[in-house]
Amino acid sequence: MAYFILKRLFQSIFVMLAVAFLAFSLFRFVGDPVSQMTGVETSVQDQEQLREELGLNDPFVVQFYRFTTDILKGDFGYSYRTRQPVNEMIASRIPATIELGITALMISLIVGIPAGVYTALRTRGFATQTILLTTLVGVSIPTFVIGIVLIFLFGVTLGWMPTFGRGGTVDLGGWTTSFLTLEGWSYLILPAITLGVYQLTLTMRLVRAEMMEVMRSDYIRFATARGIPQRKLHYRHALGNTMIPVITIIGLQFGGVIAFSIVTESVFQWPGMGLLFLESVRFVDIPVMGVYLVVIAFFFVLVNLVVDILYLMIDPRLRVKEAI
């Protein structure tokens, strides 16, 4: 098992490096940072000089080497736009994105799993069909439209929820959280739902499919033949086995959640990494973009490691090897 995790770690490192490379090749091309950094009256020579200072004229390899080595040294450089250290900028935004992502994920699990189970056990039936259809419609309307609609419905028309930003947060030694106050939640809920819809649908349909498979397996039939009560049958025997494949997929998707929060964050002006990233793209803030991509990759790798470990915890076949 230790070996297994070790192996995954090595793979992860490879992934990170590859992403770093891609990240790098990306931001060279997004546009000209200098013309974004300077005002209208700045002359061409001055711009050229600035370009030189930023090392934008160095050959690709040199720049890439600088980028990776700096990152490995833990030096993430400074934002072209704000002159702040990138790591501070990103760090200050990470909690917002993570909390948004986690809440979205939680919503999708808390609603998605029961819904999946329900629709799996009552395959036909009106409720099931409605659930399936509505969720499908939910994912078929672009996120940004959903977000705006929610904002105007709950924020403007009904006035129940705030429309933008993160509101007051509690600072826990560098980690600002929305979880501890009712106000924080009121700001969090709409974006989380917007972001969670897709996950929710995915989870639900996955659980449904797997559950239906499991319910037909021999050991469930055997358990039924032993007269094990329905409830236990469904939630103790079936659900456990259902979750095994589901977990992996959800893990794979979480990276996507973080990335797709770009859209949600921009719609809700949610002060997370995604918003920062969009700003940076607009201003060709190369260092920020690069680091953002690497951070995303890091999350992905991390989450998948966690999933693997969860896997080991849930499935005894991987945990206990020796036969008796």
Partner: protein, 574 residues
Amino acid sequence: MLTVENLTVQFPGRFGTFTAIEDVSLTIERGEIHGLVGESGAGKSTIGAAIIGLLQPPGFVSNGSIHLGDTDLLILGDDEAHQTRGKRISMIFQDPQTSLNPLMTIEDQLIETIQTHEDISTEDARSRAISLLEETGIENASQRIKAYPHQFSGGMRQRVVIALALCTNPELIIADEPTTALDVAVQSQVLDLIRGLANTRGIGFLLITHDIGVIAQTCQNVTVLRGGQVMEHGPTQQVLNAPEHPYTQSLMAAVPRLDVKLDRFLVPDTEEGVETAPIGRSAEDAERWLRSGDEMLGQGLSMEGVTVKFTGARDSLFRKPEVFVALDDVSMTIRPGTVMGLVGESGSGKSTMAKVLTGLVQPTAGTLKLNDSTLPLARQRGRKDPSRRVIQMVFQDPYSSLNSRHRIGDILAEPLWLYGLENDRAKRRDLAAAMLDLVGLSADAINRYPHQFSGGQRQRIAVARSLLARPRVLICDEPTSALDVSIQAQVLNLLKDLQARFSLTILFISHNLAVVRQMSDDITVLKSGKVVEAGPSEAFFNDPQADYSQELLSLTPNYVGQKGVASQTLVTEV
């Protein structure tokens, strides 16, 4: 105790209602083991499902009654039915691998089941569970009860399954092919266990199986099913040894005998309606074509000191992944134009040998010889190597050995095209058609898909495919073990005919000694990768040398000449 009267089960479906069970009646007394035998599709399992009330929808009991003691099982409400399940009736499934929840320790599963039906403390439940495990023959149960299903071997797992079925001491247990997935040795142990339980606890068993031998060895009474109807029923002795119904008779005749080698099987008329290949005109073309190939002498095949090692997945940085020796210095010689029978339990390396010969597996050591020329090993054997044509293979499962997405015509034409035996498309078709005729299928099969044929027909097609390579050597890996006895008989006859007519050299792999005896000239016994005995077939069966061979023979169920199977005295024997 259990009385089923004129039971009729129907499945309303797309093409009208299908009657799976028609007017079946049977009774089981306390302590009786009642055999329910029949070929696939006879409706055996449906009866079991109907009794325990787990018919797969849309199936339903359209007529008849099922009484357990004096409770009418059919009028029970869902809840009562659910109560009855496990409490009074329980069930054992065919495959122990899949019938246990992989995520729960067997302790949890046992205790859960016990407490479902009895208000009893966890402690008592545990001690009961442990004693049950011991009763079903699991040593130091108190420790092993903590284990997960995957930690038990197949046989042990089936014992756990039985313990689970027992743990509420039901009156009736329905055992659906309980030993089909097991090796003979384990099989007889499990059957002993069942007999024991019937004796000591007076539990009634409904033993569903397709294996006459198992019936013979275990049941007092037997019911023979076909197409959902009862053909014959009565005491096992009488039904097996002096069948009255013609179907039963032919069925018995088709069962390969362990005690004597017959040169042909008597084949009951079956739904396929084909006798052994009636040689039609086009069949002669096929025959001519086959003969027109290279010299008709059979070719010998031999392996010398072959060793095969598989390395498991690495799971630690420090420990080397453990190596599994599938074949350990195995040598074998198949005389030209003869049939070599290869027997052994699952995992003994039979199939690995086939894979070595066909070049799918790379041996770590050893040499192969085709006639006198060396036969290159897997990696060395080029795609164009002539041996690829000369050596052909017939697989166990006719359902997966034919590509379900290709038409029979294409499947058959493939070897012709591949080996450049016939370059004209039209000619290839004709030849394929002719070959179908030769193996006893009508030529119009060419335009159909595999799924439109029954298992036996598919196996014939598979044989035809191998013949169309104009092979000299056939490797048959359990060619009939997926087939019903009657079909098996036909296919075996077909193979015998072809072998004789074209003096093919055949390696016949099977776990079923009776079948092997019927087929082979020589025999090789394999045990966990080693050859334990080899020699002329008849000699072997009449006087096996190695202890293992003797044990195998003694354990193999054989109904003919068995005395007093039905009497309980036999339980202690074997």
